[in-house]
C-alpha cells in the first residue's frame, strides 16, 4: 500500500527529530566545545544533538520502508484554538486582570470542542470564573487584580 510522505508516521517523526537536532547543533556551534577533560558549554548539547539526528535518520528511513500511516485525524483546529487560548490568557493577564482574561480563555477554548452552545459556555464561564476567584484569589491568596481598574 502506498502512503504519502505527509501521512507517513515514522518518516515525519524522523524528519522532526533531524530538524530539532539540526537546529540544536547549529545553535550549539556558538558555544565553546572544550575537551573531554574540561567540557565546555557546547560539549553536551552537541553530543545530544548528534544522537538525536542519528535516531531521526534511522526512524525516518525505517518509515520509508514500513510505510505506516499516522493514526486518526489531526486535530489542528482544536490545537490552534487551545494554543491561542493560552496565549491570549497570558497576554491579557498582564494588561486587564484575571476576570476578562478568564472569560476570553473560556470562550476561545470552548470553541475547540465539537459543539459550541452559547448558553452553556456562558454558564460554564460564569461558574468557573467564580470558582477561580474563590480558589485562587480568596483561597490561595494569589495577588492578581480582577479588572483593569483595580
Amino acid at each position: 500500500m502506498k502512503v504519502k510522505l505527509s501521512d507517513n508516521k515514522d518518516f515525519l517523526a524522523g524528519l522532526l527529530m533531524v530538524a530539532i537536532g539540526g537546529i540544536a547543533f547549529y545553535m550549539a556551534l556558538d558555544y565553546p566545545f572544550g575537551s573531554a577533560l574540561r567540557m565546555g558549554p557546547g560539549y553536551f548539547p552537541r553530543v545530544l544533538a548528534g544522537i538525536i539526528i542519528a535516531f531521526g535518520l534511522y526512524v525516518g528511513l525505517r518509515g520509508l520502508r514500513t510505510c505506516e500511516k499516522v493514526e486518526g485525524v489531526w486535530g489542528w483546529k482544536a490545537l490552534a484554538l487551545i494554543t491561542v487560548a493560552f496565549w491570549v490568557f497570558g497576554w491579557l493577564m498582564d494588561r486587564v486582570g484575571l476576570i476578562p482574561s478568564l472569560v476570553a480563555m473560556f470562550f476561545i477554548s470552548a470553541a475547540a470542542g465539537h459543539e459550541f452552545r452559547w448558553k452553556e459556555v456562558i454558564i460554564l464561564t460564569t461558574v468557573m470564573t467564580l470558582f477561580a476567584y474563590g480558589v485562587f484569589i480568596y483561597g490561595l491568596g494569589m495577588p492578581y487584580r480582577l479588572f483593569w481598574w483595580d
Binding site: 540544536a24 553536551f44 477554548s109
Partner: protein, 502 residues
C-alpha cells in the same frame, strides 16, 4: 527498631492538622478529577502542580502524592463503571470490572478494588520505609561516575521497557535532556538555547513542559473524536462483596501486591505492566480460566493490588536516589526541585520530616481512600456524567492560572502554547512523552555528573568502566539494550502490553 521510630516520627508530622488537611484535599481532589473520563493521573498532576507551589514543601508534596494515588484510584472507578480507562494501568481493570458492573455487581467490584488497593498501599508504604534508608545510604557513597552511569541505566531502561517503539523512546529521552539544559550553563555562565529570551536563561519551566506535553496533547487528542461513551449508571446496591468474593480475592491481592511492588521499583515499567502481568498470572493460576473476561473478581482484585503497589514503590528510586522511573514520578521530582529541595539520597538525612512525613501520609492517604470511596461512590457516578466539553476548558483554566502564578509572567503561557504544539505532534507521531520528561528532569544533573566524572579521570572516558559500581550499571544498560533488540524478547514485551485482554 529504627524503622518504627522513624515511622512514628513520620506520623507525628503527617498527623498535624495542616498536613492532614492537605492529604485529605489531595486524595479527594485527585479522586474527583481522576474519575472524570479522559483525565488520567498525568494530566491531573500536571494541571495541579503549579498551584501547589503556593504551599510549603511538605504540604505540597503530601498533597501531590495524595492527588497521585487518588487519581489512580479514581481511574479504576471509571474503568469499572464506564469501560473507559483513564490510563494504561486501568485497562486491565476494565476487562473484568466492567463485566461485573454489567452483571449488576459494580458495588463488589468497586469495594474489592478499594480493599486490594488499600492492602497493596500499606505493603508498599512499609517497603519504602524498609528499603529507603539502606538504598539512600549506599547511594551517598556514589561519586560522579556512578551517578552518571546510574542515570544512564535508568533512562535506557525507562525507554526500553515502556510501551511502544524503543528507538523513538530513546530519541525522546535525548530530546528531553536537550530541553533540560536550556538556560544558563552553571560552569561558564553562558546562556544556552535561550533564543534571546531573558525568561529562558533560568531554564525552561518544569510545569510548562509538563502541561504542554501531557495536558494539551491529551485534550486535543480527546477532541479529535466525538464525545466519549455513555455512563453505565444502573443503581449501585450491595457494595459489600460476599464471603466467597473475599475468599477468591485473597490470593490475587497477595500475588498482585508482590508483582506490583517489584515492577514499581524498575524504571519505565510501573503500574501498567504490573497490572498486565498480574492479570496473566491470575488467569494462568485460575481453576477455570474461562471465567476471566466475563466478570471474574480475581481479575479486578489482582491488577488493582498490583497497580497500587507499583504506584507506591515507584517512590523508592525517586526519593532515595533522586531518579524517577516514570512520567508521574518525574513530575513529583520536579515538584521537589521547584520547592528548592535537591533530590537525592541526602533528602532523607537533611529533610527527615519531609521524607518520613510523606511516607506516613501515604499510608493515611490510602486509608482515606477506602473511607472516602465507598460512601462517595454515588457522587463519583454523578461526576461521570459531566460532558467533556465542560471539562476541557476547566482543565485549561487550571493550567493557565497555575502556570501564570509560577513567575507572574505571560511568557510562560506563550511557552506552554509552544510546548503544547510539540507535545501533540509528538503524541500523534507515536513518540512517547513520558521518556522526554524523564530526560528533561535529569538533563542538567547528567551533564554535571559527566563533567565531574571526566574531570576526576583527567578526560579519560574509561572511568565509567574501571570503577566497579559504575561498571555494573554500564553492563546492565548494555544488557537491557541487547535483550530488547532480540526479536523474541521484543515480541514478549508487546504481548505483555497488549495481551492482557487475550
Amino acid at each position: 527498631m529504627e524503622m518504627f521510630s522513624n515511622l512514628i516520627f513520620g506520623f507525628s508530622v503527617a498527623l498535624s492538622l495542616q498536613n492532614l488537611t492537605y492529604c485529605f484535599l489531595g486524595v479527594f481532589v485527585g479522586t474527583a478529577i481522576g474519575v472524570l473520563p479522559g483525565v488520567g493521573p498525568l494530566v491531573t498532576i500536571a494541571m495541579l502542580l503549579p498551584i501547589t507551589f503556593n504551599l510549603a514543601p511538605i504540604p505540597a508534596l503530601i498533597m501531590l502524592s495524595g492527588i497521585y494515588y487518588g487519581s489512580q484510584y479514581g481511574g479504576s472507578t471509571t474503568s469499572i463503571l464506564m469501560n473507559l480507562p483513564g490510563e494504561t494501568a486501568s485497562v486491565v481493570t476494565c476487562i473484568d470490572g466492567y463485566q461485573m458492573a454489567r452483571q449488576g455487581r459494580a458495588g463488589p467490584a468497586l469495594a474489592i478494588a478499594a480493599v486490594a488497593s488499600f492492602f497493596a498501599g500499606c505493603v508498599g508504604t512499609l517497603l519504602i520505609a524498609l528499603f529507603g534508608p539502606p538504598i539512600a545510604e549506599m547511594a551517598l557513597k556514589f561519586g560522579a561516575p556512578e551517578y552518571f552511569a546510574l542515570m544512564l541505566m535508568a533512562l535506557i531502561a525507562a525507554a526500553c521497557l515502556s510501551s511502544g517503539d524503543m528507538v523513538k523512546a530513546l530519541a525522546m529521552v535525548v530530546l528531553g535532556l536537550l530541553l533540560g539544559i536550556i538556560g544558563t550553563d552553571v560552569n561558564s555562565g553562558m546562556a544556552r538555547f535561550s533564543f534571546g529570551l531573558p525568561e529562558l536563561t533560568d531554564g525552561m519551566g518544569f510545569t510548562i513542559v509538563a502541561v504542554g506535553l501531557f495536558a494539551v496533547s491529551e485534550i486535543v487528542k480527546n477532541l479529535e473524536t466525538k464525545e466519549l461513551g455513555e455512563v453505565f449508571t444502573s443503581k449501585i446496591k450491595n457494595i459489600m462483596p460476599t464471603l466467597h468474593d473475599l475468599k477468591l480475592s485473597l490470593g490475587p491481592i497477595m500475588r498482585g501486591t508482590a508483582v506490583g511492588a517489584f515492577f514499581g521499583t524498575l524504571p519505565g515499567t510501573g503500574p501498567s505492566i504490573a497490572a498486565f502481568s498480574t492479570y496473566m498470572v491470575e488467569k494462568k493460576m485460575a481453576a477455570d480460566p474461562s471465567r476471566f473476561g466475563k466478570g471474574a473478581i480475581e481479575g479486578v482484585a489482582g491488577p488493582e493490588a498490583a497497580n497500587n503497589a507499583a504506584a507506591q514503590t515507584a517512590f523508592i528510586p525517586t526519593l532515595t536516589l533522586g531518579i524517577p522511573g516514570s512520567g508521574t514520578m518525574a513530575l513529583m521530582l520536579g515538584a521537589l526541585t521547584i520547592q528548592g529541595i535537591a533530590p537525592g539520597p541526602q533528602v532523607m538525612t537533611s529533610k527527615p520530616d519531609l521524607f518520613w512525613g510523606l511516607i506516613a501520609s501515604m499510608w493515611i492517604g490510602n486509608a482515606l481512600l477506602v473511607i472516602l470511596n465507598l460512601p462517595l461512590v454515588g457522587l463519583w457516578v454523578q461526576l461521570l456524567k459531566i460532558p467533556y466539553r465542560w471539562l476541557f476548558p476547566s482543565i485549561i483554566m487550571f493550567c493557565s492560572v497555575g502556570n501564570y502564578s509560577v513567575n507572574n509572567s505571560a511568557m510562560d503561557l506563550y511557552l506552554v502554547g509552544v510546548m503544547g504544539i510539540l507535545g501533540y505532534v509528538l503524541v500523534k507521531l507515536e513518540c512517547p512523552p513520558a521518556p522526554l520528561i524523564l530526560g528533561f528532569v535529569l538533563g542538567p544533573l547528567m551533564e554535571e555528573n559527566l563533567r565531574r566524572a571526566l574531570l576526576i579521570s583527567r578526560g579519560d572516558p574509561t572511568v565509567f568502566f574501571t570503577r566497579p559500581i559504575s561498571l555494573g550499571f554500564m553492563i546492565a544498560s548494555v544488557l537491557i539494550l541487547i535483550t530488547m533488540i532480540m526479536p523474541a524478547v521484543r515480541k514478549k514485551k508487546i504481548e505483555a502490553y497488549e495481551g492482557g485482554g487475550g
